[in-house]
Symmetry: C2
Subunit: 224 residues, 2 copies
């Protein structure tokens, strides 16, 4: 309803982005190390206060591009976190976003705002500022849920990939192994991907056929 009272609000709005990617067989999240008190030396998700004329999604996108240089990736709102004392500096609520990146070389852009930027396995997080531990947990739950009834897995894979790579993404996110033949049957039935005709050779085994997604945008399909 957004009705206006006489008394002005004293609430600030920040946007934080959980930037997720699979690396070395486990899910990683991009964290920055903070320079200033009260969280000096601690790690946090990249984020910042929202500008007056900026949509949250745009702010999340800006944060993502600043840190990674990437633009065309999966990005969606997760939830808004507003515990009264989540920020010791005052009432700051965070509209959190989730970004999913393919497993590729990413040049991390360190800015002078932070003392460091790094990928951390989500299961081995350092001590985090604010309520970011909770936000990352919910981001993971969102991904694990959504990979089962949508095609978002495309966002975690490069344009061309092998069936084994596709299967590994599912195995990592769901935390269980899958039967190769049953998995391939399932994927074929869904008709989400098509062979590119190319193969990936150079390894000491039979070359794997490369596939690509027919559509690289969110669709709803019962995968598992």
């Amino acid at each position: 309803m957004s009705k206006h009272h006489a008394s002005p609000q004293n609430i600030k709005v920040a946007v934080d982005t959980a930037i997720l990617r699979i690396k070395d067989g486990v899910m990683h999240v991009l964290l920055i190390q903070m320079k200033k008190a009260p969280f000096q030396g601690m790690w946090a998700m990249p984020g910042g206060l929202l500008e007056d004329d900026e949509k949250c999604l745009l702010a999340a996108s800006r944060i993502l591009t600043t840190q990674t240089g990437l633009t065309d990736v999966f990005l969606e709102q997760l939830a808004t976190f507003d515990d009264i004392d989540r920020d010791p500096a005052g009432r700051v609520m965070s509209v959190a976003y989730v970004a999913l990146l393919p497993d590729q070389e990413i040049k991390l852009h360190t800015t002078d705002k932070y003392s460091d930027v790094r990928w951390f396995p989500v299961k081995k997080l350092p001590s985090l500022a604010y309520d970011h531990k909770q936000i990352i947990k919910e981001a993971m739950e969102r991904v694990a849920g959504k990979i089962q009834y949508t095609n978002i897995v495309w966002s975690l894979l490069p344009r061309e990939f092998t069936l084994t790579e596709l299967q590994q993404v599912y195995e990592i996110i769901l935390g269980k192994t899958l039967d190769k033949r049953n998995f391939r049957k399932r994927i074929e039935d869904l008709q989400l991907i098509k062979p590119t005709g190319k193969t990936r050779s150079g390894m000491a085994h039979r070359p794997a056929a490369l596939y690509q997604f027919k559509h690289r945008k969110l669709e709803y399909v019962q995968v598992m």
Copy 2:
């Protein structure tokens, strides 16, 4: 990350609640009619600006209680809506919530803030203020999705209910008819409900056995 800049923000935060309930066989949403310009005479979801020391969930709960007098109902965050010009009076973002109520007599509390309060079928909405049409649409999608993989259906039913009433809730939300025998088999397998021993008589047909949910809180189960 919630870092603080020198320039103060000029963004307000409101909380709006989509209060949903099944009535006369279709989903209804509670709307209030606005008194003031620029949306005078138009309808909107109840809501209001967030207080400085108030959590969003608490604000949503307060809104719900103010309008309906109810307290112990399903209430969860939906999403945050922040189109720059969603409110012509300035930058006001809305943290939207969804409330689900059982189909029972509800005394609506009209306050002098609004000129009217009413239930509207979600498929026959009047002209709505702000982006509330979109918010209600997303609320409905959330409910339709969540009823399939959780037990939230309890929130739309009274404490005691018949199997037919339970089935009707699914049929209304999913928008399709279900086979009675298959439905009952499914529900029995899930073990979410138990018979109360009582029956509902007084109608010109065989009395129906009454059931109740074992747990009236959110659980994850594949229902359909």
